[in-house]
Symmetry: C2
Subunit: 150 residues, 2 copies
DNA sequence: ATGACTGCAAACTCTTTGCACAACA
DNA sequence: TGTTGTGCAAAGAGTTTGCAGTCAT
């Protein structure tokens, strides 16, 4: 737990939530959380691992996986499963849609309110306890649509 | 291609779409498509494989995977990636939401119009070519919410 | 001091690939 | 007859598990 004095505001919420659950504040957890928050959104576990390797060499991939799952449980990250390639992790917590290219797998944020209330209400009426909703739009990104005029 | 005379209406569309693309109508393709249409929705490749093993023994798992992907391309099935467990394939083509239990992975249909038009328009404006949208609601199913009062 | 957490290696699940044979058109 | 499609076996990607040792509390 040294050399971690910077980024106070980014870390605060993580530390608070770990403490609230009686979980330990380890350097790995701090660095992994920071990687997700400070780099581009939608990182795979492998990408997080690469970023973390710079700031905290020796961190293992299984720890990255475990920590990312923990962050999701703590409500500090969201899983984005595109079904193509690895699962991505997103530190943007506001509900927003994702556009996924079925050709190259590229992922883009769509800033637009979800309008999922009706479906969420319907799910709740069926005994389901909704946590959050996610809208994924499948299609072709501009680049792939141009390259392959089919 | 014998003993496949039943289920005419279920098969018709598949045969038409295969012919239209100059693709061959094989017994495996017919049986796999039929399995997806006649059994409960949301089957994994493995589950399709098991069902197909009854009606056409000897069919291989790689063929099941290849054919399911083909059905998706032909617009006769939809991929549903929950991010937990294997990819599921859905023969219901009308847009509808899915509720996924983050505890046990159970998947349920939510019959509710999507209201994804605004997000789709936004994606299209960014050069993206939308194909279809999917709304996934994460949470806990009735059973898991009851078992584990946390 | 003690129990949670990590690193390592290995296993595991799901899916794809390469190649020889089979069968639709 | 000429490919397209299939089966088999093997490989591959992504993720999880078991266990011994480490470190936050």
């Amino acid at each position: 737990m040294a050399a971690l004095a910077e980024h106070p505001t980014v870390d605060e919420e993580l530390v608070a939530r770990l403490r609230a659950r009686g979980l330990r504040v380890t350097s790995q957890r701090v660095v992994i959380h920071r990687a997700l928050r400070t780099h581009a959104q939608h990182l795979s576990a492998e990408q997080v691992f690469e970023h973390v390797a710079v700031s905290l060499p020796g961190t293992s991939l299984p720890t990255v996986y475990a920590t990312l799952e923990l962050l999701v449980e703590l409500g500090l990250a969201r899983r984005v499963s595109t079904g193509a390639g690895p699962t991505l992790f997103d530190s943007r917590l506001e509900p927003h849609a994702h556009a996924v290219c079925s050709e190259c797998g590229a992922l883009a944020d769509i800033d637009e309110p979800l309008r999922a209330e009706a479906a969420v209400r319907r799910a709740r009426a069926a005994g389901f306890r909704p946590d959050h909703a996610q809208l994924v739009i499948w299609g072709r990104c501009a680049k792939c649509a141009e390259n392959q005029r089919s």
